[in-house]
Symmetry: C2
Subunit: 135 residues, 2 copies
């Protein structure tokens, strides 16, 4: 039941970008230094955020990254789903599709896991990067 560094680092980058952006591009090297995160490691985390259209990366001298959306319009849930994968506490694919389920007692817990997933996602979707900045 842990969120890994991928997701936590991504959040820190988003906050950093939001705080230091006046529209110009920010080199990832700066952020890596500021946040004390390996540049190479960050390099492997960011593409999913670019792909999703949340940030933009520009090559060349003076290039770097920039937010494409307002901090108030980016939710924590969004970032974590992109970097961590689905925020589901249990991956219960084993039951899905094959009915009747072979593990009765196990599937009796499925509605609860589904609801837990909903609770988690609802909360994380309600928090924005902007809200985090104001802490």
């Amino acid at each position: 039941m842990k969120v890994s560094t991928r997701g936590r680092y991504a959040l820190r980058v988003m906050i950093d970008l939001a705080e230091h952006s006046g529209g110009e591009y920010i080199a990832m090297r700066e952020i890596a230094a500021r946040q004390a995160i390996s540049l190479k490691y960050l390099e492997r985390i960011l593409p999913s955020l670019v792909e999703a259209g949340i940030i933009e990366g520009v090559q060349g001298k003076g290039g770097g990254y920039r937010l494409l959306k307002q901090p108030g319009e980016i939710s924590v849930g969004e970032i974590l789903r992109l970097t961590e994968g689905e925020l589901a506490p249990v991956s219960c694919d084993s039951c899905v599709g094959q009915l009747p389920c072979t593990r009765t007692a196990d599937c009796r817990t499925k509605p609860m896991w589904d609801e837990l997933k909903r609770v988690i996602n609802d909360y994380l979707d309600s928090v924005t990067i902007e809200a985090l900045m104001k802490q």
Copy 2:
């Protein structure tokens, strides 16, 4: 962000015990067979539940396990905390104790993680074994 088999198995055992108990003791071998879980593996999961006074184990012929509380008085959160450890999405001990925190941006996320933990625990504490049985 996953709940491991330890917690999931423990829940299945609790449901099984609740369903098959008329006060008598149930051999763990029966449950292992019924739930298709390795007996040896179960043997290592149960002690924490015994220690917490949720179930009782009796040795000797005719012995086995039994619930010590009503299914309606045992919460899922309780079982998972005993078998999985603390249900916190982030173990942010690094900041605690040392002020001022060295990672400003990271700690800006702490209140959110705390709240997420609360949300998760609140939900899981609201669901009882009895409720699961009725699914």
